[in-house]
């Protein structure tokens, strides 16, 4: 006797599995494959083995070598500058907002959250005006005679400022939600024992929100490695490519003017992906171990 076929899995799970296969699985595999090829996005990729990786990693004379390491260095600078602030400032805000006597909590929270809903291209237009030498706030109020986007360290400062402006809201809400779950009795009994604010913060608050801290730290770092819009809009990679991050090189090689060098760009993308994976794993491992 023939068994009746059950169509329910195909109906409920099938559509997404197809979407996943076409738009995530296939491009990921193809991206890894393309990194071993010479490819201009138009004709078929030609297998070249490890040539792209050799050029990027070891060939000191190759422009791809210089671009990759400059891009990686600049990306690491961005990660190093932005991630600690993207954790610490939201945490300080969340702790300050937990204070019993602070009023208008939701208004403050909204003001700090809203920039996160503004696209980088709109935000950058406004911030570039603020940092404009003749017309902006830095020039007129603080008398700065320097063109910020064209000089270091100002170029990094404006990139970090716009990143913080749009980036603290998400983590702030996660920390607020986690802090409100910490039992008040813990604080009260610690206070009776004479523990000061800092002591209470390090011995009660931080351990209680350990998981959200690890989670936000790993996610914020991985996100920061993909930085693209802020340097593109604020400095266009300048001055002298000192803020030209890896994503900008990858996009430039694959989709820039002239013939596409998509194979090389794919190899850089795979290397960046590996860096992100290794660092995420390392962070998770170290933080999880230290915390227990």
């Amino acid at each position: 006797m023939k068994k009746k076929i059950n169509w329910a899995p195909a109906f409920f799970v099938g559509p997404h599995v197809i979407l996943f296969a076409v738009f995530i699985l296939l491009p990921t595999i193809y991206g890894i494959y393309a990194s071993f090829t010479k490819w201009n996005l138009m004709s078929d990729p030609v297998w070249v083995g490890f040539d792209n990786y050799k050029a990027i990693l070891f060939d000191g004379k190759s422009t791809f070598h210089t671009q990759f390491f400059r891009g990686l260095k600049n990306t690491l600078i961005f990660v190093g500058l932005s991630v600690p602030l993207l954790i610490v400032i939201p945490l300080m805000v969340a702790v300050a907002l937990e204070h019993k006597k602070v009023k208008m909590k939701s208004l403050i929270q909204s003001i700090l959250y809203i920039p996160g809903l503004i696209s980088i291209s709109a935000a950058a237009l406004i911030w570039l005006l603020i940092f404009n030498k003749q017309l902006g706030i830095t020039g007129n109020l603080f008398g700065s005679q320097i063109a910020w986007p064209a000089n270091q360290p100002y170029a990094w400062i404006i990139i970090i400022v716009i990143t913080l402006w749009g980036g603290i809201g998400g983590n702030m809400i996660i920390y607020r939600a986690s802090l409100s779950g910490v039992a008040q009795e813990l604080y009260e009994s610690a206070e009776l024992d004479g523990a000061g604010s800092i002591k209470r913060f390090t011995s009660i608050t931080l351990p209680s929100i350990r998981f959200p801290l690890i989670y936000t730290f790993v996610m914020t770092t991985a996100g920061a490695f993909n930085v693209f819009g802020q340097p593109l809009m604020m400095t266009d990679g300048g001055p002298r490519q000192s803020t030209h991050v890896l994503m900008m090189y990858i996009r430039q090689l694959a989709f820039g003017n002239g013939e596409s060098i998509a194979g090389m760009a794919s190899a850089m993308a795979v290397l960046l992906g590996l860096v992100i994976l290794v660092i995420s794993a390392l962070q998770y491992y170290v933080m999880n171990r230290n915390a227990t």
Binding site: A8, F11, V13, I24, G31, I118, L128, I174, A177, G196
Partner: protein, 303 residues
């Protein structure tokens, strides 16, 4: 005062401070520290928005001649008139329309896909269901930068370059929202649908009439974040769109610095930026509680 305030942070035991009522001084000092910090931050955070809005209402001559002012001497609308009349090099209304169409369609489809798929992974029994789910979840953790270039190639082979499909469809493949919906549906007692099943209800009826109404909160949240995410996406539209008439507003704004001459037409630049901000801002004002509650659900699951 600021020095004292900083010392207040470490809050030595109150008994060591003679002449003060226990607790109250601590609380008031830390209150001032908290307030000072929050107010400074809020001022810095809100000034760009005010500055952008007010500059968009200043005339070009006023901006150039009188330099920085927080508010205009005279409020003018000429910048907005210019922006809205420029339908050739910077058709901002078109861009806004494109963005609205893309973000709305994407959001509707996201909600449909994640609710159906979430139901499949929690209520439909088939062999290897959980293995399939966790395999896909694991693969999706692989950094997206790797699939960026081939994604373009796939979109291109579908003929979707310079069309809205390029931004509406690929994002539906994501696993994040499905993970959340699956968690949420797992929290709904199975007895509810099992009794309906005994009464002879089909899977689809159970989905539509029992489960769907119960998961509405998480669907609203995922929908809101899909909308704002789609509206603000930048890297992908910059790659996919070259046709000025077809692009969403985020990609369009990138062109403006050239069109409105490197900050020679400041009012126009600011006006365009403000127009691009308004939709998500309105969404936040009307759905604020969901934006904030969302993460509660989120961290509740993870914590």
């Amino acid at each position: 005062m600021s020095n004292q305030a900083v010392n207040g942070l470490d809050n030595r035991p109150v008994v060591n401070r003679p002449g003060k009522v226990k607790g109250s001084s601590n609380i008031s000092i830390s209150k001032y520290v908290s307030y000072t910090f929050l107010i400074i931050l809020c001022v810095i955070w809100i000034i760009p928005v005010i500055f952008g809005i007010s500059t968009s209402f200043r005339s070009q001559t006023e901006v150039v001649s009188s330099g920085f002012r927080l508010f205009p001497e005279t409020w003018v609308f000429e910048n907005y008139v210019t922006i809205l009349n420029n339908t050739s090099t910077a058709p901002i209304l078109r861009w806004l329309g494109n963005s609205l169409f893309i973000a709305t369609s994407h959001t509707i489809l996201v909600v449909i896909v994640i609710s159906i798929t979430g139901f499949g992974y929690t209520r439909i029994n088939f062999k290897g269901r959980d293995t399939l789910f966790f395999t896909l979840l694991g693969i999706s953790f692989f950094p997206g930068v790797v699939n960026l270039i081939p994604s373009y190639k796939i979109i291109d082979s579908f003929g979707w370059v310079n069309t809205s499909w390029a931004m509406i469809i690929p994002g539906l493949a994501g696993m994040g929202n499905i993970f959340l919906v699956r968690q949420f549906m797992n929290g709904i007692p199975k007895e509810l649908d099992e009794s309906a099943k005994v009464d002879g209800a089909s899977d689809f009826r159970i989905f539509a009439q029992i489960i769907l109404p119960l998961v509405k909160p998480i669907l609203i949240v995922c929908g809101l974040f899909s909308f704002t995410g789609s509206w603000n996406d930048f890297l992908w539209p910059v790659i996919v769109y070259t046709d000025v008439d077809k692009m969403p507003v985020t990609a369009g704004l990138l062109l403006l610095q050239d069109i409105y001459g490197n900050y020679r037409m400041i009012g126009q630049l600011m006006g365009s930026a403000i127009l691009a901000i308004i939709p998500t801002l309105l969404l936040f004002i009307f759905a604020q509680k969901y934006f904030v509650q969302s993460i509660n659900l989120n961290s509740g699951i993870k914590g």
